[in-house]
Amino acid sequence: MLYREAGDFKTTYREDNQTFPIRFDRIAYYTTVAAAFAVVPFFINDYWANAVFVPFLIYAIAALGLNILTGYAGQVSLGTGGFMAVGAYACYKLMTAFPEMSMVLNVLLAGLVTAGVGVLFGLPSLRIKGFYLAVATLAAQFFLVWLFNKVPWFYNNSASGQITAPERTFLGQFVTGAQTSASAKYLFCLAFVFVLALVARNLTRGTTGRKWMAIRDMDIAAEIIGVNPLTTKLSAFAVSSFYIGVAGALFFSVYLGAAEVGESFGIQKSFLILFMVIIGGLGSIFGSFAGAAFLVLLPVLLKNVLVGTLGWPTDLAAHIELMIVGALIIIFLIVEPHGLAQLWRLTKEKLRLWPFPH
């Protein structure tokens, strides 16, 4: 009897439009946010921050970005790694060129730069569709990685081509570099996630989101009812790339601290983030989080269980971990092809009906 919408009437369209129309959801959401901001920072240590929370938050941003492009606007992209690299290198150049600039500004500007690059590589989407486009975005992926690897200006001529994040502060706290505390890292990323998720939610429930989804579901019909495919697709590329750029900037500066383009932003990253989006649920904000959590946490968890608890040799554990992750992906898809978000939705639908079967 916990989960009911009955008796939860809306009297205005404004109320009906809110993100969580059901009271229970609303409460759960506020509790989560409050806990994330006010409780977790006090308990977080280096391990939880660096191995779990920070990567989860950053991947969530990237997944949100890709979900906007792929899940909402229907443009399959495998260039995510490359776009993250743009964010990372833009951030690096900004950090080193303007040491006094606020880190928040650095990250946001890096996002904007990425948005520009994203629009450029989004242009072919006007002609190329479906998996063909996916493969075409790989051109962006490989070219960008090559570019950052080749042109010394991007890595300030360092001998190896590695970029290392200098120390920067925000509100007097270190947020990058060796002296950053676990909670500062976490909060810095969390703030970005919080705002960006809200923005994503707002964009996707409004006009822009509907345009994106219309193009996704049936581009021809969308165009006939008045959606301009050019601006719509490019806006999706821009917004999505912005998110991914921010994620790349944070990934490099806050999380890793140093990066090499081929290793950190290679094609594997593109795939990983696409997995997150699909596993989580295409076209779902919650799904982006769920997918990121799943793919960040699962390997860590499996490793801890197989090696830590069961004491298996690491290589055997790693191979079996691969098998388990693969099998789980397949099982999840079979159980619910539309991702964890849909699974969650169905569970709620069942709860709502409970104790009646239908």
Partner: protein, 278 residues
Amino acid sequence: MFDAKPTPETQVETLLEVNNIEVIYNHVILVLKGVSLSVPKGGITALLGGNGAGKTTTLKAISNLLKSERGEVTKGSIVYRGEGIQDMAPADLVRKGVIQVMEGRHCFEHLTVEENLLTGAYTRTDGRAAIAADLEMVYEYFPRLRERRRSQAGYTSGGEQQMVAIGRALMSRPETILLDEPSMGLAPQLVEQIFEIVKAVNENEGVTFLLAEQNTNVALRYAHYGYILESGRVVMDGPAAALRENPDVKEFYLGMSDEGRKSFREVRSYRRRKRWLA
């Protein structure tokens, strides 16, 4: 006009029997709430009902295509020639002689019209000559298809695609055809023609038909027996002739009142129905 043969009241073999089935989509959406039908061998049985009544779902439950839509028969049984067929693969069912023409055409877009027709003969083993003869037969029925035989099906008009879908089913030399809205989108002449074909096939080849139709008027003219479905339940059934005379059916499905057909312009208010549902 009303030229359907009266159903022989003598004992005919029941070919297909649906007993009280319940269908749920996606584990939560209950669509059929206990539907029972029986389809006699060599007959034309019509399944009537408004939008969303569950006609398509019933047909898919029989042909076992539900699984691919995440739907599931949770109760009841479906028996074909005395054999439970719920767990049979659709392909095996086609081999047994039951084929479905799906609603909304479902042509293979990238195949040509002729290739589409030939896929209908996929399960056949009686040789190229027999298949070629049947292809010829389908072209006789639908001359328009002969003209477009080399076009990709995706580029043919809606009506042409409907012809392809029906022709394709005929190509499998079935014993029973489940026809889902064959008249949808066809020109009036063609609707008559298609039902004439149904009738001819039924009479000449002894093929049994179960057809879901919105076009009650035509359907009841050609069918022998009818079921009326509303919101996932059978609300009425009877010989076609009887149904045609039923005043409710007349008013709500045939659009006739006592004074004959009413003009669509004369309809002054929207009607809501579901009256006879308790």
